[in-house]
Amino acid sequence: MLNMSDTQNAIREEAKKALESRGVTLVIGWGAGSVPFKTTPVFINKSEDVDKLVWNPACVNNLAVYLPKLAKNSRVGIVAKPCDIRSIVTLIQEKQVKRDNLFIIGLGCRGVVDAQNLEDQDFHLQDVLAIDWVEARLKVTTTSGEHLLECSDCLREMCLVCTKRTPAIYDVSLGEAVEPVEVKGCALPELPEERRKYWSEQFAKCIRCYACRQVCPNCYCEQCFADRIEPKWTAKKATTEESWMFHATRAMHLAGRCIGCGECSRVCPVDIPVAELMSEMSRLVEKKYGYQAGDPDEELPVLGQYKQDDVDPAQHGG
């Protein structure tokens, strides 16, 4: 079993080999951020720069978002967590990127940290020196010493319900395999009217910055419906109704495609639980069609296929 710094060294080693002898022109990975609890995407095209790559519980970004543009015409290496890899699978499935153009350095993952959760536990983020996984817990080193935290208190919400913690496809697999955890059910209010009010309150906050769309690897459309003037599906003004239309449509567009990395919720500046909507849709898709987004055994997206005996949504039957 590799520990965190071993994995990090192995990533650097593989990235170096990829750049030097495997025809890879660029390696996308995480690099140290401005502060220890943050990382930033790095793009490495020279083998002497591989030491910029890091691996720690702050490697939150789903780097697959860059692939449709960067891996169009050349071979690109990518360091990816299991969730990122499922995004890559959907991109390959939807023909946005060719498998041959990718060199995937897959990692086993124990979940990544939500900086907000650390703050909520009275950590001053500027005092944090390092974070690391220790067994099933998280070690936070601060200026005042080392603290061991339970994962449930500090990981991102999506990581707590993640069941796929080993890479689905890869060229090199590093890091340890981790046992999946139990799946949580739907956390939305039960009554329709309460649900509608809940979402109405959430979408009322939306400032239409489209960060959720920009960060989503599956939102690769060159022209998004939200940017279109004609037909005007949704106006640009940030009213609740218009935002509802944007989020509802986006949820529909991602139904059966969202792999649940939770990036949309993470980047939202006004804390709309976008991923909650997406994950509920994924749950319903799986229930109806036994389909999981990001499964390498699936050849077509769930809405790009049908079966004669599909569930019939007609009230009176066919």
Partner: protein
């Protein structure tokens, strides 16, 4: 189908009194079956509530889920999508794709808390003029009981 079933008056809920609130329903109908069914209802002089606003599409496979969402966003009290029976699609398989899409639209509406009674999906063939009129009458009646839709953004 006998002549009698074709021209039989559908049972319509009690006609609303003047001034009473009337629901507005968006109907998205496939050109080859359901729209022809609606046409037949018209030619046969069958009465059905004037609450439905019909949009004709080439196939239920053309029904973008956004049509349904936009309907609710624009404040329709109910949305109805009608297509050819499975196996009867003019384009062979458009309605099979539609079936999956519509099933997911229903799931999405449920997730967003739009009452499922406000959305109705049904297979209606070109010969089912009577059934079309009946469905519109039933759906109108249901929406009338539910009352006006508060809107997607109402607090």
């Amino acid at each position: 189908m006998t002549e009698q079933t074709l021209t039989q008056e559908p049972e319509i809920a009690e006609a609303p009194k003047t001034g009473e609130w009337q629901p507005t329903i968006l109907g998205i109908l496939c050109n080859w079956c359901s729209y022809a069914g609606a046409d037949l209802a018209g030619s046969a002089r069958l009465k059905y509530p004037e609450t439905i606003r019909i949009v004709r599409v080439p196939c239920s496979g053309r029904v973008d889920p956004m049509f349904v969402l936009k309907g609710f966003q624009k404040g329709f009290d109910g949305v109805m999508v009608l297509g050819c029976h499975p196996g009867d699609c003019h384009y062979a398989k458009g309605n099979y794709y539609a079936r999956r899409r519509i099933a997911l639209v229903k799931d999405l509406l449920a997730t967003l808390g739009i009452p499922e009674e406000r959305f109705h999906f049904e297979w209606v063939s070109a010969s089912e003029g009577n059934r079309f009129a009946q469905l519109v009458a039933e759906f109108t009646d249901k929406i009338r009981k539910l009352g006006p839709f508060a809107g997607v953004g109402a607090k």
